[in-house]
Symmetry: none
Subunit: 246 residues, 2 copies
């Protein structure tokens, strides 16, 4: 958490999470885009060609420190476990019902709310899967020419990083007094707990719809942004229900 000279504590810079990136070259370009605007925390989820990747370094044009510090994860859930706010960048309409904001509005939200934010970017060709988007509370969409939308990965990263960097030298908004959302890992445990109860109750029927049902529940439980105390209370509710199941 950085403290500015005016004494106001700000949220830490967001983590950039590349989900299943294909080319090492694009990972390098994304690192370069980040560092231009002061972002240094890169997380990689299951990069197609493994990690480290020899193509990344040359494409980073000197942003080697970002690549050296990149952390590797197997799933989006693990990559965002410590984050209070998860954003998913996507240009396409999704079946998922979530708020959609511009990079500018996302940058403001990231600065205004305490707790670390993660911003998800999908694979070069296909973008984020619906299941990846389901992990996020908010969608970031770059408003783009409706007749020609062709942003590549590094360009999407640079626009988001650029918007975030604008607030760096500006006076920050007053710190909000509410608690930040619980870390993603606690929310995941809550969802898993409910899942076990519903499994026992026979909720997921027919079985071939279970995946859709689970996604819908995840979306419903992700949107509130409950804080750690609220999540604890709900875990108590679930424990109580669990004991009463026949």
């Amino acid at each position: 958490v950085s403290v500015h000279s005016d004494g106001v504590t700000l949220a830490p810079p967001p983590a950039i999470v590349l989900v299943r990136p294909q080319l090492g070259e694009n990972i390098g370009k994304a690192a370069r885009a980040m560092l231009n605007f002061g972002l240094t925390e890169l997380r990689l989820v299951a990069p197609r060609d493994g990690w480290p990747n020899p193509s990344a370094g040359p494409a980073a044009s000197g942003a080697d420190s970002v690549l050296a510090g990149a952390k590797l994860f197997e799933t989006v859930a693990e990559a965002t476990a410590d984050c209070a706010h998860v954003f998913a960048t996507t240009v396409r309409k999704r079946g998922v019902i979530k708020p959609v904001v511009t990079p500018e509005a996302a940058a403001h939200a990231i600065r205004a709310e305490p707790g670390r934010a993660a911003i998800l970017f999908g694979p070069e060709r296909s973008g984020l899967e619906t299941d990846d988007v389901a992990v996020a509370r908010t969608i970031i969409t770059v408003p783009i020419n409706p007749d020609f939308g062709s942003l590549n990965l590094a360009q999407a990263v640079i626009l988001v990083a650029y918007e975030w960097s604008k607030g760096e030298s500006l006076a920050s908004p007053p710190a909000t007094e509410h608690d930040p959302p619980a870390p993603q890992v606690e929310l995941d445990r809550l969802i898993a707990h409910l899942d076990a109860i519903l499994e026992k109750a026979g909720y997921f029927f027919p079985p071939d719809r279970a995946h859709v049902d689970r996604r819908a529940l995840r979306t419903i439980l992700t949107s509130p942004g409950w804080n750690a105390g609220e999540v604890r209370t709900l875990r108590g509710v679930l424990r109580s229900i669990e004991r009463s199941q026949g």
Copy 2:
């Protein structure tokens, strides 16, 4: 000159002027960056490898109309002869004394003033020469990490085009996909349903704290603002749990 529905006459979109660009590939990438944000007028001053350039098309990723319409000039003066406002993008300090603005401020200025604007971008390696900058009235500098400034040509173009596009209708914030919260009566029924399940599970203990517990749960369930469909889904969850209670 485009006229918006509110009757305000705006300046035409700015021309992007690439001064002595080196690689055809970068001309293509710049065209792609432009069209993403609705800019179509590309002017080329003395491209190193001549024009047209067979490397430009593949890099444009479909922005062929921009390349096809590109105009070729021998000097910056000729390329900007019809423009009322000339901006020069540069990251370096120059001996020339001119106002320096951000891409955001430049975008506002371009919209606020009648007459066409041109924005100059220098060659990939060296940037604009002092003589090129001298043609401009205003310098655009992207505020960048002082320890790592490494924007390539297409990235500089995309940031400027992106800022300009914010004033266009295409750049209006995307509609959120959010349904309004369910009517309060449906939320109340959800809370009452959970309450009955928790009563049966023995959750409210000791009884003299039940009031506090209920208030806490109401707060937790009220804050999300779930829509009617989400509340229906949660009612289904509760029915399923209810049937499984011993």
